[in-house]
Subunit: 305 residues, 2 copies
């Protein structure tokens, strides 16, 4: 059987190792997800990747495979395919991930930071389908993100572009582990929402951002305040990005996305006040669509670029 | 006589209309500067440009002319060469500057925003000579700037990228005409330095940023405070840019540049605190070199791109 060209995307994020074969029109042909034991070290993870990719590839026509894209939670030297630094993948620093995988799989292997891959995935098959330029902010434990310019990830000089989580939004705001005060991720991540919720003394049963959201949904005005504060921080950061980039699209993803109606009004209020170009240029700030699959789609898109 | 390829740069900034023929190695072959009466309207200015360019061109070998680049203080539709908006050029909005000039001069005409042209000029012949990626911030009445990525101006969707002056640095800071509070240019432009100086009640003879600088040079501690405050605002904005862009070089130009030693310490302190990637990536924040000629060099560079 003659197949459409397809690629294989690998997402090393979170607790699962996820792999999908996706054809060039974005149809998922086959997908596999297994719990990943990152503590076992790079050799074991590489073995797992090779074995799953082989399995996924066996389901399809070999000649149509365009390559394998891998989203990695860390900084990558794009020229060498080496993971330069990663807080989430102990033992991977300095490890030649690309070459080690290429030894076992006779196809082109492309590595990308997972947050960048997610931005690319949203452009390819998500909320950015009709765009070639966008910024994605992903709200999680921290705040990650990616910049896509003219259809490609913008990396900066050392692949460290898009550190949106550490943009200063309140110069005397909450302290951050990076040594700064008022980093965006200390005011607008899921972790920040949970922490602001705890400041409100809702009680021991309210621990997570989802708990604060549930309370706000019930009409609790102090829980609603938490999301208003979070939206303000997000709006200040987005206004700065709009002033600087003049892109047509800015996307928000991550766990707090269901609370959009609670944080979006204060977010847009700050954007309108602080980015005079926002209304003039018709820029859009919208929800991302692919959720946790964005990185998988983005990784699969890499060989098609 | 056989000449090196050369181009003609035109700078429509400020009070003078400046034109220079510059060869591809950056040598100025001929330059002219005349007072420009922008109030006379676009037709009169176009005539002046055509006449000076013709004069400059007459000094050189016609066959070696690569084109004319024009730096314009306004937003330009890059596809059509029309000035979309300009606070400084009344009557130019919607005016087809490129086509009108091209009617009279049989060579390629390229328009560029003057702040972007200045960034390009610094890359070509200024402080960014060994770089292809940089950001330039120009401190003047407001704060303008340009982004150069991979050797070319980054414009954004509508040519409005690089509105650094309206980045929010203090969310509850000084009010700005754009409708925002705490815009960078209300805390770090030459105008802001003068205004902060007036807040200090130095007396009627201290009116301009240069006056405040002179006082600070004499050791006046309150005048020194003005530059420290200005450096902090600049540092917050630069830290955000470093976190987002991961570029190798950020340049500062404009009238307050001689006060570098007064504002740089507080600027670098904020950058180090607020951009954890600054030290890691070896990014540089430096003085621009070309002063008021940056835009002229950048305009002349456009036909060589």
């Amino acid at each position: 059987m003659r197949m459409n060209p397809y690629s294989i995307g690998v997402d090393l994020g979170g607790t699962n190792l996820r792999v999908a074969a996706i054809d060039e029109s974005g149809v998922i042909l086959h997908r596999v997800s297994i719990p990943a034991n990152y503590l076992a070290g790079p050799d074991r993870i590489i073995d797992q990747i090779v074995s799953i990719v082989s399995e996924v590839r066996a389901e399809a026509d070999l000649t149509s495979l365009r390559g394998v894209g891998i989203g990695v939670p860390g900084f990558i030297d794009m020229k060498t395919g080496v993971v330069v630094g990663s807080a989430n993948l102990p033992g991977f620093e300095g490890f030649p991930v690309r070459d080690e995988i290429q030894k076992h799989l006779n196809t082109s292997i492309i590595l990308e930071n997972d947050a960048n891959a997610a931005a690319l995935g949203e452009m390819w098959m998500g909320a950015g389908r009709s765009y070639k330029d966008l910024i994605l902010l992903t709200l999680g434990t921290g705040i990650g993100g990616g910049i896509v310019l003219d259809g490609r990830v913008f990396h900066g000089a050392q692949g460290m572009a898009g550190e949106f989580g550490h943009m200063t939004v309140f110069p005397e705001g909450n302290p951050c582990g990076c040594g700064n005060y008022g980093c965006l991720e200390k005011h607008a991540s899921a972790t920040a929402i949970a922490a602001m919720g705890r400041m409100m003394h809702f009680g021991p049963e309210v621990n997570t951002a989802a708990d604060v959201f549930a309370l706000a949904e019930q009409g609790n005005t102090r829980a609603i305040m938490v999301f208003e504060a979070m939206g303000r921080a997000l709006g200040i950061a987005l206004a700065n990005l709009i002033n600087v980039f003049n892109l047509p699209l800015y996307l928000i993803s991550g766990g707090p996305l269901p609370a959009w109606d609670l944080f979006a009004p204060s977010m847009f209020k700050e954007i309108r006040r602080r980015a005079f170009t926002f209304v003039r240029t018709g820029a859009r700030v919208e929800k991302a669509l692919l959720g946790a699959d964005a990185g998988l789609f983005g990784a699969a898109y890499l060989p098609f670029q």
